[in-house]
C-alpha cells in the first residue's frame, strides 16, 4: 500500500512541477495545490499505514494506527487551503491591474516600471 501511495505522490509532484513551470499564473496556482496535496499524502505515508485498531485507548490493543500524521495532515490542509485562497485573490487583483496572467510579461525591475 505504501508503495502505491509513493508512486501516486511521485505523480502528483511531477504534475505539480510541470504546472508550476508553466507561464500561465492560474496553472501555477493549480500546481501549488497539487504540490501541497502530494506533501499531505506524504505525511500520511511516512507515518506508516499499518495499524488495525483506531488510536483510542482501549485495554489490550497494541497495534493501533498512528494518530499524529492525521493531526498534522489536518493542520497542513487547512493552512494550504487558506494560502491558496489568498493566492487566488491576489492573482485576480494582479490580473485586473496588469491585464495579463503570463508570467513572462510580469518580469521587470526598477528600470522597467
Amino acid at each position: 500500500m505504501e508503495f502505491i501511495l509513493a508512486i501516486l505522490i511521485g505523480i502528483l509532484f511531477t504534475a505539480a512541477v510541470y504546472l508550476i513551470l508553466s507561464r500561465s499564473l492560474l496553472k501555477v496556482i493549480l500546481g501549488t495545490g497539487l504540490l501541497s496535496h502530494g506533501a499531505h499524502l506524504l505525511i500520511l505515508t511516512m507515518g506508516g499505514l499499518g495499524g488495525s485498531a483506531p488510536p483510542v485507548l482501549i485495554d489490550g490493543v497494541t497495534d493501533f494506527a498512528d494518530p499524529l500524521p492525521q493531526a498534522l495532515i489536518l493542520t497542513a490542509i487547512v493552512i494550504s487551503f487558506g494560502v491558496t485562497a489568498v493566492m487566488l485573490v491576489m492573482a485576480y487583483r494582479m490580473y485586473a491591474v496588469h491585464q495579463t496572467d503570463n508570467m513572462n510579461e510580469l518580469r521587470g525591475n526598477d528600470e522597467h516600471d
Binding site: 506533501a39 511516512m46 494582479m94 526598477d110
Partner: protein
C-alpha cells in the same frame, strides 16, 4: 503568582491586540495607541523573560500539560528570549515610524493588525520546541507578510508579491515534506526528542539528506546562496516601514531555524553538513557583496547587505565552536537592530529627496545634518568599526574560524567588511556630500522630526549594544552554551 506561562506572553499579547484592532478599522488613532500599548506590554514580558531565563535557566511549557515528547513544547532559552526581545524593540520603533510615513489609507486596511499577527508568528517560531509547530508559526508570519507586502495594491507591489507568495508556498511544501521524512525516521516531532533519537541512531546518511532539505527550506526563507534570487525585487516593492520589518526580521527567522536545527539535530556528521553550510555561507557573502556594489538604488544596496549579513551569521554557526556560535548570536542581534535603523534612515533619505536613485542626490549634509551623522554612525556600525555593534560579533566569528582552521573563510569575512563599508559609505558620499542636484521637494519639517525620532532611537540602541558588550557578554555566553551543547536544551525539555 505561577509564572510558567511567561514565555507565551510575547506570543499571545500581540495576537490578542491584533484581534482587538480588527474592530477599530476606521479609528486610526485608536489603532496606533493600542498597537503601541500591545508592543510595550510584550516588551515588558520579554524583558521579564530574559531575566527569568538568566536566573532560573531554560523555561519550558508543554501545552495541555501532556508530558514532554507528546505535547507541543514551547522552549525559551537565552537565544530565543533575546531574539524575541529584539523583534519587539524593532517593531515598536518601526510602528512609530509608520505613523508619519505609511499613510492613512494603508492604516485603515489592517496594517497594524497584520504587523501584530506577523510578530505573533515570528516570536512563536523563535520560541517553539516542536518542529511541526514551527511550520505552523512560519505560516502565521508568512500569511501576515503576504498581506503586508501587497497592502496598497500598487502595480509593482502586485507583480512582486505574487512571486513572493509563490516562492514561499513552494518552500512551505518542502518544509512539510522534510518534516514527514524526519518523522518517518525518528518518529517524533519534539525538537529535544528528535535530537536524542538522532544521537541514538548516530545520524545515518538519510538524516544528512534531511539536513540538506532543511537547509533548502530555511535557506529560501533566510536568503542564502543560491536561493536568495527572489529577495531583492520582492523586498523593494512594499513601502519602507514594511521593508524595514521584513529586512530586519523575516530573513532572521530563517537564519534562526538553520541555527537551531544545525546545532540541535545534525551535530554528528559536521564534516559534511557544516562544511556544506560554510561553503554556502561564503558564497552568500560573495554574491551579496557583488549586489551591494552593483546598484545605485539605496534600497537595493541595503537589501543586498541583508544577504551579506545572513552569510556572516551562518559562517559563524558553521564553525560549531563556542567562539563562532557566540559571535553568530551577537552578530544576529546586531544585524537585526542595525538593519532596522538603516532601513528607517534610508526611508527618511528617500522621503527628503523624493528619489531612491543615488545619482540624483547630493549635498544633504547642509540641510539635514542630523540625518547625515546618524546615517554615518549606522553605516560604521554595520561595517563593524569599534566600538560599534558589528565589531565584536565579527571578531568572535573570525576567532572561531581560526580555531577551526578555516583561514580562507575568515579572510573572506574580513574582506567583506570592507565591501560593506564601501557600499554604505557610497550612499553617504553620493547623498550627503557634493552639491544638490535637484531642488528638494517641499516637506513638512514636523513630519521629518517625527520620522527622525525612531531612527535616532534605533541607532542609539545599536550603539549601546556595541558599547555595552562587556555587560551583555554573560547573556551571549548563556545563549552560545545552549547552542554548543545540545544536552542542556534536551535536559531542560525532557526533565520529567
Amino acid at each position: 503568582m505561577n509564572m510558567i506561562n511567561l514565555l507565551l506572553f510575547p506570543i499571545i499579547i500581540p495576537f490578542f491586540f491584533a484581534m482587538i484592532l480588527l474592530f477599530f478599522k476606521e479609528q486610526v488613532v485608536v489603532q496606533r495607541v493600542l498597537t503601541l500599548i500591545g508592543l510595550a506590554l510584550s516588551l515588558v514580558a520579554s524583558f521579564w523573560l530574559i531575566a527569568t531565563v538568566k536566573t532560573e535557566g531554560i523555561q519550558t511549557v508543554t501545552l495541555g500539560s501532556w508530558p514532554a515528547p507528546f505535547g507541543i513544547t514551547m522552549v525559551s532559552d537565552m537565544f530565543s528570549a533575546m531574539l524575541v526581545t529584539t523583534t519587539i524593540i524593532i517593531t515598536f520603533f518601526v510602528v512609530i515610524y509608520s505613523f508619519s510615513s505609511i499613510g492613512v489609507e494603508r492604516e485603515r486596511f489592517f496594517y497594524y493588525p497584520a504587523i501584530l499577527f506577523m510578530i505573533t508568528g515570528i516570536n512563536g517560531a523563535f520560541t517553539t520546541g516542536d518542529i511541526f509547530n514551527m511550520f505552523v508559526f512560519f505560516e502565521v508570519l508568512l500569511i501576515a507578510s503576504y498581506l503586508l507586502i501587497v497592502l496598497g495594491g500598487e502595480k509593482r507591489q502586485l507583480r512582486e508579491s505574487i512571486k513572493y507568495i509563490l516562492v514561499n508556498v513552494i518552500s512551505s511544501a518542502i518544509f512539510v515534506i522534510t518534516v514527514a521524512y524526519l518523522y518517518s525516521i525518528v518518529g517524533t516531532l519534539n525538537m529535544a526528542d528528535i535530537s536524542v533519537k538522532i544521537a541514538e541512531i548516530n545520524q545515518p546518511g538519510i538524516i544528512s539528506v534531511i539536513a540538506i532539505l532543511f537547509l533548502i527550506v530555511f535557506g529560501i526563507k533566510g536568503a542564502i546562496f543560491p536561493l536568495y534570487f527572489w529577495l531583492p525585487n520582492s523586498y523593494a516593492a512594499p513601502p519602507i516601514p514594511v521593508l524595514a520589518l521584513f529586512g530586519a526580521l523575516l530573513t532572521k527567522v530563517g537564519v534562526y531555524a538553520i541555527t537551531r536545527t544545525y546545532t540541535l539535530f545534525f551535530v554528528h556528521d559536521i564534516g559534511f553538513t557544516h562544511q556544506f553550510l560554510m561553503v554556502l555561507s561564503l558564497l552568500t557573502i560573495i554574491a551579496g557583496c557583488i549586489g551591494a556594489l552593483a546598484y545605485f538604488d539605496v534600497k537595493q544596496i541595503i537589501i543586498y547587505n541583508i544577504i551579506i549579513a545572513v552569510g556572516v551569521i551562518l559562517f559563524g554557526v558553521a564553525q560549531m565552536n563556542t567562539s563562532g556560535l557566540e559571535g553568530a548570536v551577537y552578530y544576529l542581534i546586531h544585524d537585526m537592530l542595525i538593519k532596522g535603523a538603516l532601513f528607517v534612515l534610508i526611508g527618511i533619505i528617500i522621503y527628503v529627496t523624493g528619489t531612491s536613485n543615488l545619482r540624483q542626490m547630493g549635498g544633504l549634509i547642509k540641510t539635514h545634518g542630523t540625518l547625515g551623522w546618524m546615517y554615518l554612525i549606522a553605516a560604521f556600525g554595520l561595517a563593524g568599526i569599534p566600538p560599534l555593534s558589528g565589531f565584536i560579533g565579527k571578531v568572535l566569528i573570525t576567532k572561531g574560524a581560526f580555531e577551526a582552521d578555516h583561514v580562507i573563510g575568515s579572510i573572506i569575512i574580513l574582506a567583506s567588511s570592507l565591501v560593506v563599508l564601501l557600499s554604505v559609505i557610497r550612499i553617504f558620499i553620493y547623498a550627503f556630500w557634493g552639491s544638490q542636484k535637484n531642488d528638494l521637494p517641499v516637506r513638512d519639517p514636523r513630519t521629518y522630526r517625527q520620522m527622525m525620532f525612531p531612527a535616532v532611537m534605533l541607532v542609539l540602541i545599536s550603539v549601546a549594544y556595541g558599547v555595552g558588550t562587556e555587560w551583555l557578554m554573560p547573556y551571549m555566553t548563556d545563549a552560545a552554551n545552549v547552542l554548543a551543547d545540545p544536552s542542556i536544551y534536551i535536559n531542560a525539555v525532557l526533565k520529567e
